[in-house]
């Protein structure tokens, strides 16, 4: 019983490893630290990154905060944004790209501007997270505004199954509520306001009564 090669998941470029189709131009020299004279950086972004750099004994510590700032400005860690951050931090764009690709919340490809991260880890999946994620993908498919992803444990198993919607934890959500939730997200409103984490009381009855 040999493995059927047609059943092995492959990327469009034929390899089972991601990233091999991303263009690398070997005729060019490696990119150095961007030259401030030729790299214009928006003043606001520069101020934010410099403020982060001042917090740490080693300014490289500001890498993740700087990439968060880039993502907040451009919607994703775009090559231009990374180059600007690298220029301010006096690092190579490759260094920041290496950092950005490591972390789940930093996107090196363009994404929809509304984050919908559905927790599909063990505790949530015991309470129906896989059905919830399927409902989100079904109803949100093809909408370029939405960035729907299955996420590992978001640390909110007490409101499972849940999702982090534009940074706000909401749960529990039933699959049949998904169309309404997405409608609210598209309108920029808070979905299911009474089920936001911010309003969740402690489960411990003694804490609630004291």
């Amino acid at each position: 019983m040999a493995i059927d090669p047609t059943r092995v998941a492959r990327f469009g470029h034929g390899s089972r490893v991601p990233g091999w189709d991303e263009a690398v131009d070997l005729t060019k020299d490696p990119e150095g630290v961007p030259d401030p004279a030729t790299t214009p950086v928006p003043e606001e972004l520069r101020a934010t990154i410099e403020q982060y750099m001042a917090r740490y004994p080693d300014h490289r510590s500001a890498a993740i905060p700087a990439l968060h700032a880039v993502q907040a400005r451009y919607g994703w860690c775009s090559p231009q944004g990374i180059e600007e951050a690298a220029c301010v931090m006096r690092l190579t764009p490759a260094y920041l790209t290496a950092v950005a690709t490591f972390y789940d919340m930093l996107f090196t490809q363009p994404v929809g501007r509304h984050d919908v991260f559905v927790c599909t880890n063990i505790s949530c999946s015991l309470r129906g997270a896989d059905e919830l994620f399927a409902a989100f993908t079904e109803h949100g498919e093809g909408d370029p505004e939405l960035n729907i992803r299955a996420f590992e444990c978001l640390g909110a198993c007490d409101m499972a199954p849940m999702a982090s919607i534009d940074g706000h934890y909401v749960g529990p959500i039933r699959p049949d509520e998904v169309p309404g939730v997405l409608e609210a997200v598209r309108r920029g409103e808070e979905p299911l306001p009474d089920r936001q984490l911010e309003r969740l009381k402690s489960a411990d009855p003694r804490a609630a009564s004291s």
Binding site: M1, S61, A62, I64, S123, E152, A156
Partner: protein
């Protein structure tokens, strides 16, 4: 038996507890005043006498950890590990969101005991609300003189910043957290040297979990000896447990260590839904080897859980009832670790990947019972062979599931094979079995 006294959760639902005004009205920062009136050695002594063990997962004694820091004037660092990513754990989230000043006060006390002058809170990027609350609380504390130069008129100074991560389970491992905080990819480091000697920026570094640090003010307030009377011998104090999965009232509960596990799962969290029974439970996050319904009467403390072959870990109890297949649980667990393996060490990177593939084969009906032995051997080859314990954290629960539910795995294999109209294991020619196991 009751769950005991409340320490951390006493005022947790008090409206506005996240503001300095309410926190101070409720006796906040009194412990800091008391600590600053003592010498650092006396504060350290109280923490040591309290015998509090780390609440993040490893259960290492907090006082001992501080005492490992070199003495003398140098740049020392305190890093609060708020990268709470262990599946099933959400206790630090509630503490940081509702009582951020308790953590800040604890950090200042711990830093004073260790002669530390710079501190950081590394919080996971997903905790947006909690990070905002902490940032606001740190600003308030700075303005009120609880953080900064010459705190409350003493000679002691401490800086503090909130640092947001960006989504990586591995950054909860202390050395990976340090790399991430230094602005690198979050890869773990070789130990030794331990962070107490060479940690952040190569300086001596104390790393503690949120809950451990938040307990420090209470230890100072009560006195170490008094605190040690709470809980069980070897596991002193109270612990926040996050109960989730198949229980009727999932949530955070504060218990005195040493109460029966049944009391937590059934008494506090209400047990599984009507008509169902506990099949297995993780006593300390998804990295802990699973226990079964026969272990429900064990006392919930560090030593008893270790003796039962598992661990208390972060105090996250995940309950799985008899309506769920153990294969599904194993596959979910293994997929998580495959996703989160940083890829630095081969046994973990490949071991997590192959474990997922083999579990998928079991599910799709391509496996034979022999695969279970291969899978168990893969787990054995991960444990102890990597820089950090991420691989072990998959190998231990998966290994324990295969050991305790082998019959169910075998039945699942047979059922899936029959479903695929393949020959059952007994009838298949031996050659095919072997090829099927290694292809």
């Amino acid at each position: 038996m009751s769950a005991g006294n409340l320490v951390l959760f006493k005022d947790i639902d008090e409206p506005g507890l996240d503001t300095l005004e309410v926190y101070a009205r409720r006796g906040g920062y009194e412990a800091l005043r008391k600590a600053l009136s003592m010498t650092p050695a006396e504060v350290l002594h109280e923490l040591e006498v309290s015998a509090i063990r780390g609440r993040g997962g490893a259960g290492f004694a907090m006082g001992k950890k501080i005492s490992f820091l070199p003495k003398g004037a140098m740049d020392k660092y305190l890093v609060c590990n708020a990268d709470e990513s262990e599946p099933g754990t959400f206790k630090d989230r509630e503490l940081m969101q509702k009582s951020p000043h308790m953590l800040i006060e604890g950090m200042v006390i711990a830093a004073y005991a260790g002669g530390i002058t710079r501190s950081f809170i590394y919080i996971r990027g997903e905790y947006d609300l909690q990070a905002s609350k902490l940032e606001a609380a740190v600003e308030e504390a700075k303005a009120a003189g609880y953080i900064g130069e010459r705190i409350l008129g003493s000679d002691f100074s401490l800086s503090m910043w909130v640092h947001r991560g960006a989504g990586a389970y591995i950054c909860g491992e202390e050395t990976a957290l340090l790399d991430s905080l230094e602005g690198k990819r979050g890869n773990p480091r070789l130990k030794p040297p331990f962070p107490a000697n060479q940690g952040l920026y190569q300086g001596p570094t104390l790393i503690n979990n949120v809950e451990t640090l938040a307990t420090a003010p209470h230890i100072i307030r009560m006195g170490g000896e008094e605190y040690a009377k709470l809980g069980a011998p070897g596991s002193t104090g109270t612990k926040l447990v996050s109960v989730s999965g198949h229980v009727q009232r999932p949530g955070n509960y504060e218990i005195e260590l040493g109460i029966p596990s049944r009391e937590i799962i059934y008494g506090l969290a209400g047990g599984p839904p009507e008509g169902r029974e506990v099949k297995l439970w993780f006593p300390g996050g998804s990295s802990a080897p699973v226990l079964t319904k026969d272990d429900l009467d064990l006392a919930y403390d560090f030593d008893t859980m270790a003796k039962a072959g598992s661990m208390l870990g972060s105090g996250a109890i995940i309950v799985v009832d008899d309506s769920t297949s153990v294969v599904d649980v194993a596959l979910k667990t293994a997929k998580f670790y495959r996703h989160e393996s940083c890829g630095k060490c081969t046994p973990c990177r490949e071991g997590t990947n192959w474990t997922v593939k083999m579990l998928e084969r079991i599910d799709s009906g391509e496996a034979t019972p022999m695969d279970l032995d291969i899978m168990a051997a893969v787990q054995d080859n991960i444990i102890g062979n990597c820089l950090c314990v991420l691989g072990d954290a998959m190998a231990m629960p998966i290994g324990s599931m295969i050991a305790k539910f082998r019959e169910e795995f075998e039945a699942h294999i047979e059922a899936a094979r029959a479903r695929n109209e393949l020959a059952t294991t007994d009838e298949a020619p031996p050659e095919a079995v072997i090829q099927g196991a290694v292809a």
